[in-house]
């Protein structure tokens, strides 16, 4: 077996196509690694800047309280203090960028913040580059590597059939299983080794975040399983009595359908069938609510005109009450929006069964901590925290005394645990498909010996 393996490896390495595939894989992995590092660095730099500005803001409040000479100096603290929230950096932002380019991960919450306008800091990644897409290891594993495997494997056995050497090759190798193993291992290695080396390089050069190594191992396991799925498909196509040209055409067709067409259609169909409510309407309704609430409040509270402590507090209460009223009116729209998105998500999850690569890609993003579910969970936790912060600050407004440093320190702190990665189903499905297709292929190849 070892001799056969050595022979096949030598033969493969003499083929220009195999060398071209190796060069392409190395190039793709290198670029994915560099691009991944840039993404990770940007994520860390953004969080560092946010931590610094939050700390500066807290220092300014502390100084204001310490240097206050009377209640007037700190009267407006309930509307000026804030609670900064930030999602921890994803474990593997450098592996699968997922939705990092478009999702906000920090916000500053105060008495005037509303859940529908919670994230005012929009990511500034160039939309043009986002539209073109970027290279990350996830893309290499799910999109590029399968096509490279197809290039290496479309003629795995079909070419022997075409040349009439199939029986001879089978006889020389001893058994079809040995022949397949000897031909498969070096071909898989050409694609898998650069991928694994890039994973190791990113782990060694990246930050030491708790859980990162474990996540990387799971990520790699799923990526390998995804490639084994493709290899099983390639081997099965080779078990049919078809020409190398037909095998190439069929594999390219399967790849195009599973990787390009079905995922793009899945998202388009989900959006067409379950369109989300209008974001524009949400804005307009919130503004209408704001004006109505302001007018109602001013009619009911003539004391607002006074320029003393009582007047200031009344003004702040007005702000809080209007905010709460608008929140109440916009909340059904926001909930409808979230419900629609959840429905869309469910539909996409069901349709994903038609495309194992899409399933694998989303699972890889989930392991990396860059998927939609994680950001949704963060938004939900932020909205809950906002309610707690506003409730605390509103209670401060009801008191007769001004806020002290102890009160500021007592503002609820944000804590959020990212949801566990959602990959088991993808791994199980890919594993089951791979096992089933491999069993069929081996059975078909086994029958060849009897011909």
């Amino acid at each position: 077996m070892l001799r056969l393996l050595t022979l096949e490896t030598r033969r493969l390495l003499r083929e220009p196509l195999a060398l071209a595939v190796l060069a392409l894989t190395v190039l793709a992995c290198l670029l994915a690694g560099l691009s991944g590092r840039a993404v990770l660095d940007q994520q860390l730099a953004g969080r560092a800047a946010f931590a610094q500005s939050s700390s500066d803001a807290a220092d300014r409040i502390q100084k204001q309280i310490a240097e206050a000479t009377g209640p007037a100096d700190v009267a407006f603290l309930p509307v000026r203090v804030s609670s900064p929230i930030v999602a921890p950096a994803p474990l593997l932002a450098d592996f699968s960028a997922g939705r990092l380019g478009i999702e906000p991960y920090s916000a500053t919450l105060n008495l005037r913040t509303r859940s529908d306008t919670l994230f005012r800091t929009e990511q500034l990644d160039n939309p043009e580059l986002l539209a073109r897409g970027s290279i990350d290891l996830g893309l290499v594993a799910v999109v590029i590597a399968p096509l490279l495997l197809i290039a290496l494997g479309y003629g795995l056995f079909t070419q022997d059939r075409e040349s009439g050497a199939a029986r001879l090759v089978l006889a020389q190798s001893g058994s079809p299983a040995k022949l397949l193993a000897a031909r498969s291992l070096p071909r898989l290695a050409i694609v898998l080794v650069p991928l694994m080396m890039t994973v190791v390089a990113l782990l060694f050069s990246g930050p030491a975040i708790a859980g990162r190594v474990d996540a990387a191992m799971v990520w790699l396991g799923l990526a390998v399983m995804s490639l084994l799925f493709w290899w099983s498909v390639i081997v099965m196509l080779n078990s049919f009595r078809i020409s190398a040209e037909t095998a190439a055409l069929a594999l390219a067709g399967i790849w195009t359908a599973l990787v390009v067409v079905i995922p793009t259609l899945t998202v388009a169909v989900a959006q067409a069938v379950i369109p989300p409510p209008s974001r524009f309407e949400q804005i307009a309704v919130a503004r209408l609510a704001e004006i109505s609430a302001t007018q109602d409040y001013e009619t009911d509270h003539p004391e607002l005109v006074s320029e003393d402590m009582q007047g200031w507090q009344a003004s702040m209460r007005k702000s809080a009450t209007i905010n709460a009223t608008v929140e109440d009116r916009v909340s059904p729209l926001s909930q409808a929006f979230d419900a629609r998105l959840a429905e869309q998500q469910d539909m996409v999850r069901r349709l994903q069964m038609l495309s194992p690569p899409m399933l694998a890609s989303d699972a890889l993003a989930s392991i990396a901590g860059t998927d939609e579910m994680r950001f949704r969970s963060f938004r939900a936790a932020a909205i809950l925290h906002l309610a707690a912060v506003k409730s605390f600050l509103a209670s401060q407004l009801e008191r007769d005394s001004v806020m002290s440093q102890a009160d500021v320190d007592a503002i609820p702190e944000f804590s959020w645990s990212p949801p566990p990665p959602n990959y088991v189903w993808a791994l199980a499905l890919l594993g089951a498909c791979t096992a089933l297709i491999s069993a069929i292929s081996l059975n078909r190849f086994g029958a060849l010996r009897l011909e």
Binding site: L124, N126, L129
Partner: protein
Amino acid sequence: MTQASSAIARKDLTEFVRDRRLGVAALVVLILALAAVAVSFVRIDSHERDRTYAEALDRETWLNQGPRNPHSAAHFSSWAMRPITPLAVLDPGVGPYAGNAIWMEAHNQNPPRNRPARDNASAFDLGQFSVGWVLQLLAPLLLFVVGAGLIARERERGTLRLMLVSGADASSLVARKLGVLGRIAAMMILPIAAAAVAAIALLPGANAADEGWRVAIWGGSYAIYLFVAVVIAIAVSAMSASTSRAMMLLIGLWLGATLLVPRMAASVAAVVAPAPPAEVFAAEIARDRATQASGHDGSEEAFVQSVLRRYGVTSEADLPVSLAGLELEESERQGNLIFDRRFGELEAVYTRQREAARLAGVVSPLVSIQNISMALSGTDMASQIAFQRQAEMHRRSVITLLNNDMAKHGKGQDFDYLADPKLWSTIPVFVYQPLPLGVVAQLVWPDLLILLAWCALAFFLLARARRHISSSAL
């Protein structure tokens, strides 16, 4: 000689029709493209309905806000909502990834919000389903798959040499093969183009004169792009020993040109000219603003003195205007300097990224056709920046109108002054003006040049293919 070549062309077309695999693939691409037209039509129509309704509702809210302090109204202000022009049926461009609504409030230049891509349910994104996507990605793949065997298969069967010895010369053979593949491409693309034009005409806001030119240039550019694909397919087929080899090489080229190079270009551009993280950008603006007067506290003594001098009075009480209104306007002026600098720097980063990415057009024509397609559809980054700039100009003019009203009528009352509700109707509505075709042409001419260079390369490849066929027959 011509008869032999015509017979070859007829044979190829018959083979294509009889080969169910290719027929089904072509049909699938055609159906996908037509579905893309329908999906884009519904998306744009729905977006425009939502936008018009929301804008009307918001205008009503603005007009009916009653007596109010102009600065309070300036904080409330209004939103700029970006329309989608009918041409976006062809190519959604950066639309899904860029915010389509900007809050034009006092004191702040806000970045656009509401990115439609945020509402996508999956992180797996190989592009937005559209006519442009089908023509950019799937059409070349289909042409490559169909074209791979056109000459290589003749060589495999030994019929290539037979054809040449029976009178068909290499030039006419290549021309006929080119014609066959060209006809297949046309059969697929003409219905798509017709459906897209019909969809554009049916959408509200269509402007026949301007859009006619844009569609014509758009179609011509795609014709060049697909011609390049056709020629590459024929050339590779002519130079390959077998159909399967030709197919693998062509699929490899397709992978490189459509999935690798544009993404590499985007990744390299992001590394060469990195955009600042949003948090860093916000912190820098906050730091700049911290050194500047807000307009609320009256702390700018130098400004107060200059106002007193301008009005020839010695005390604030003698001023014929509201000092608070003037201070607010001064604060806006200073803030705008900061915004101009910071947002200017950000736009410069985007421009450098665009230039870096554009270079990849030399390696893959897809990058150039993407730029041309987005620009002509009015969905490129230049159009997005035009929207943002127009919204910012509108914000500034509206805030100035409101501050001036407070300065003029708010003497002695300042922030307690309530403006006459008639003021709200004098505030103009934001109307986005798409970039004119002349400006678009200036932006995309380098991409057009690159595409034409690809066309020249295609002719060179054709000549090489002819020579290769002639020499292989000897």
